[in-house]
Each structure stands twice: as C-alpha cells, then as structure tokens.
Symmetry: C2
Subunit: 355 residues, 2 copies
C-alpha cells in the first residue's frame, strides 16, 4: 500500500472528489434531486440544507470505530464505507423518513490515507448513490486508529414519523427480513484464519452469508410505507438484537410483548451431509433461534400493527418477508413462548458496548 | 473517583438527566423556545426537528478527541463539556446563523462514567443554556479513550448565510477580539507541572489567561449582525489560526490578502518588573505577533467588508473589539507587511492535524 501524507486540505479535497457533493463554495443552481436541497456543501464552515415545506427534519448520528464496530484486517474498507452510512440511514428508515444528506467525521492514521481511503470512499459512494443521500460536510483529523462518525439528515411529512412510543396492547408485532444473518456472517468472518490481504480492501468476499453483515440494506421503502399509510403504531430498527431492542420499544410505549419462538424468521439451515443431519439439525435449530433473538446488526424493522390493519401488511414487501412474531401485551414483561412448557422471560442478550 | 459500570441504557438516561432535552418519547407540546422545535428528543431512533419557515438549516460537526483536542490530566472535564459544543456552535456563528439543537456522540472508558462524566455534563449544560442549543440525540459506546463528536443544527434566513466565497478585491479584512490568547492559554496549561487532580474535574482554573482556551465564546451575535444587515461579503471562524484559515477564505473567493502586522490585535503584554522590561518587550512583542498569526482555537470571526460599508462596522460590538487588519487583493497571494522593509508571504503555520 502506498503511504501518503496528506494535509487536511488535501484530504478534504480527496473526499470531495471521492463522493458526490456540491463543489466547495458553489451553489448548485438548477440541479435536480438531492443536490438542489444542498445550498452549500463541503468547503465552508458548515453546510446549508433547504428543508421541504411541511416536513420535519430527522437527525441521527452513529459511531463506527475500529476495533469496536469493525476490524481492519477482517472487514474490507469498502464495506466500512458502505456500512457506516447504511447504519445511520437505517435510523431514518425506522422513523419512516427519507434520507437527504450526511456529514462524515473521519479520523485516520497516515497509513490509511492511501488505498484504504480509496476503497472506503468507493463503498461510501455506492451507498450515497443507493440511498440518494449526499455528502454535505464533515470533519477530518489524524489519529492512530480509524474513527468514523456519521450524521444523517432525513425528512418526513410532519406528524407522520414512526415512533417507538405508540404501541398498544393487542397490536401485532412484526419484523422484516430474517433475524440473525448478520451475526452469523460476523462469526464466519471472525473464524476465518486468513486475514484480508492489504490489496483486498475493496474486494467483497463472495460468500453470500457475509453480505448482510458487510453490506446491510436499511428498509427505507418499508418504513415509508408503514408511516405514510399509518399502518404501524410504533417502529424501530433492530441494530443491537431483538432481545435488547424490543424492551426499548416496549418501555417507550409502556407495554410488554409476547414472542412466539416458532414464528421467528431464523437464518436458513445448511446441513451438509445426510449422515450428520440429525445432530446438526438439533444443534443448528437452537443456534438459529439464539442468533435471531440476540444477533445484532440486522437493520431490519421491528413494528407494531393494530389487529384491524393486519390485512394491510403484505406477506412480503419488495422481496423482504414481513412476519408477525407475537403480540403487544398490557403487562410490561417481555415473554418468549414455544421453547418449553411455560413462557419464559426474554433477557437482553444483544449488543451493549457497556455490558 | 467512584468507578461505575453503566449499561448503555443507563448512560443514556444519565446524559438525558444531565442536560436539557425533551423527555424520551414525549412531544413537548406548548413549550416555549427551542424545545418547541424538537418534536422528539432522546430515546427514539432519531430526533425530529421542526424547521422554521423561510430558513435554511445549517449543519456542522466537529471532532473533540482525547490526546488530539484535549488532555484529561490538563483540561477540566467541564471545560471539555463546554468546549466540544462551543467549537461546533462557532461554525454556526461563522455562517451568521442561530444554533437550534445538537447531537452528542460520546465514547467513554468505564472509568470516566462517574465523576468525569458528571463534570463533563455540567460544562455541557452550561454551554447548552448559554447558546440556547438543546441536546436532541446522539450515540454512546465504550472505548479505551474519550472520543467526542458534536453535530450542531442551526438556522439562518434563506439567502442570508455568511459564506467564504464572497470576498472581493478592495474589501477590508476584519477580525473580532484578540488573536493568539487561546494558544497562549494552552501553552500555560501545558507548562504546568501539577496535573489536574482527580477531584478538580469541574473546578475551572482561576487564571484569566486560561479562560479563552478552556471556555471559548463563539461570536453568535456578531455573526447574526454581519449576515442580517448584509455588512460582510465573506466570513469564517478562526479555529486553526489566521495563517491557516485566511488562505481558505481567499481560495474560496478567488482572491488574495495583505495583512498589516502593526494592526493585528495581539495578546496584552504583562511585563513584570521595570528592570526586565526592555528585553521582555522585544521578545514578547515578536511572540505575541506569532501567537496572533498562527495560534489556533480562538473562535473569533474573520470577515470582509466593502469599503463603502466601513462605517457600519463599529469599533467594538458587545464588548468585543472589531479590527481592520488588512485588505483583500486581486492577486492571489497572502502577504504580511510591517515586519521588515518588504512584504513577505504568510505561510500557513496554524493547526493542521495532518502536518
């Protein structure tokens, strides 16, 4: 890897070239789409954003730190670029909103300002285009480790945001997609003996089981559907794992929940040879349930729907399954049924950096 | 210092108690001031902000990192709390805007979640009140070092933002306040043998020469005056030092500048005994000029004014001197006059984390 020393000005210029953004100091007049909302992008003291009439502005930020959220020798740099934006955009999806622009705070060692940064910016640019969410500004500094913080600005029609505090006893509890796939991908990645080579910053691993961990897909269209049509009474995204996140939704709404283990959309089983199938099936079945209950990083939506609106929830939306996994209860307990003769309390077992 | 282990939920609750914010999950109906703009604060996936009609939204973020931007054994925790918000608010002042709310990303070692965090939150709360800028959300995680990132959201009437790219040849170049005082304060602080005791997280040093370094005061009222009355053609805040920041304003505007060393508002001289005065005066005079040219962290405003509007700039505003230090030129050079028989090129000598 070439080792380049960049001044802060040069680094900013490289980032500005690497991603879409209104040129420093220029108002992009008569440009279409998101760019027309950015009155001023990189290159001034701050960015200027023109809010839409009758919309509320959604504000969210997320850490993405070397060692805590990614491992430079395991995670390709373009996955780091994609995922740092995707995670923050997922909070916009959870509010039923549309992402508009983002701020990137980046702290880098000198040794990462060459090919690592190039690959990082490629992943970020792909995410930027995919989410139609443009780089508006940020801050850079030198550091012995790679530190990333992303702020995303989104919009939602006033009064239509999906919140955590609207769930009512009797509502059905849904999740999108399959739970636990990202955690399984992380385990596969950790178990790999060979670390990523220095030239493979941008080569994404071919193994499809790693895709959800490396390149998560926030459920933006689903969030918009649930909010605009007033289908959901409450929603949040699953970032730390169902067992950690569901109590937060319930606490905000002042309710409890009962989950049916048999209904959870768990990762698909790949059992290998027929001979090993019996034992593997049993072991994997339990493992898949634990992954779905406690695995983090899925960025699926967890949402509640009144029973009278059950038919408004399709079995899948844009290819993503929507599954009723239980019900909201008046008693403030989080219970799991279907794993034994009696319901058991579901304890938070997901990601908590402070545990 | 008591050592407490907090879960992420508990840490969020502590932060929410420590600063003003709409209660988690509640819309503050019929509340006055900034709070009424926050439809949703801490406790959901993201914050909701109601933008003002006919205003543009200003977006800015800033790193504030242990070891890079502050030293835990030298800087009181309440200064860290004040300054991490003040620095980002200064970018809002530089745009001629009004701060509205902010997001706090905080990564902490377990050992800092006790008295250090208490004092940090006291400083942050003072800044929050002083700038009328409310905590709207954020992200927390555990880390071996203290990492802070602050995003500030501000507003400015559409089309009235102060930008860097409007300076014209012939404009007068002004600065607010005195330049170099913060850098001198940092040097005094570094030179102190005794490190801050663990109990002194919140006791601010009495030495007035340290105030500007520890508790900078963004020039919000001045920025608003310059923008609303259309006095300034360009503006920015001085965070890295005049010699590093002025070239950025000039590059954005496609101009150069000539600064008169004799006009620079340098730190006041405290010369001690009469006997030592002659030598000290000479040495200090040079030092004061270098501090004013290259010292960072002042958070004063640098702005340009057409000559015909010279009389609209008062000699001081709300107790802060406003000084014409030179002129914008058509040739794209940054020149310093008054230090020798000829004008010399002013080289960037301020703060650059990548140099």
């Amino acid at each position: 890897m070439s080792r380049r020393l960049l001044s802060e000005n040069s680094l900013l210029a490289k980032i500005a070239r690497g991603v879409r953004s209104p040129s420093a100091g220029k108002i992009p007049r008569a440009t279409a789409g998101v760019a027309s909302r950015l009155a001023l992008g990189l290159g001034d003291d701050a960015a200027l954003f023109r809010p839409s009439r009758d919309c509320e502005t959604i504000l969210t930020c997320d850490w993405f730190l070397q060692g805590t959220h990614f491992l430079p020798d395991k995670h390709p740099a373009d996955s780091v670029g994609w995922k740092c934006l995707a995670r923050a955009v997922s909070d916009i999806a959870a509010m039923g909103g549309t992402p508009r622009c983002f701020l990137l705070s980046l702290a880098l060692p000198d040794s990462s300002t060459g090919s690592w940064l190039d690959a990082f910016l490629r992943g970020l640019r792909r995410a930027e285009k995919h989410f139609d969410c443009m780089l508006a500004g940020g801050d850079t500094t030198r550091r012995h480790e790679i530190l990333i913080n992303v702020t995303v600005i989104g919009e939602v029609p006033a009064g239509r945001a999906l919140r955590r505090d609207g769930a009512q006893a009797g509502d059905l509890l849904y999740v999108s997609g399959v739970l636990g796939e990202a955690e399984r991908g992380l385990r596969l990645l950790r178990a790999r003996k060979k670390t990523m080579s220095r030239d493979s910053h941008s080569r994404s691993p071919k193994d499809p089981r790693l895709q959800k961990h490396l390149y998560p897909e926030p459920r933006l269209a689903l969030g918009e559907l649930l909010g605009k049509r007033r289908i959901a009474t409450a929603a949040m995204d699953l970032s730390d794992g169902l067992s950690s996140d569901l109590p937060r939704l319930c606490a905000a709404s002042g309710v409890g929940a009962r989950i049916d283990a048999a209904k959870l959309p768990v990762p698909a089983i790949s059992l290998g040879t027929r001979a090993a199938r019996h034992h593997a099936k049993r072991a994997h079945g339990e493992d898949a349930l634990l992954l779905a209950l406690h695995g983090g990083d899925d960025y699926e939506l967890l949402f509640t729907v009144p029973k009278r609106k059950e038919l408004q929830v399709p079995p899948s939306f844009l290819g993503v399954p929507l599954t009723a996994i239980g019900e909201i209860t008046a008693t403030r307990k989080i219970l799991l049924v279907g794993t034994g003769p009696q319901a058991s309390a579901l304890k938070p077992g997901g990601w908590d950096p402070f545990r």
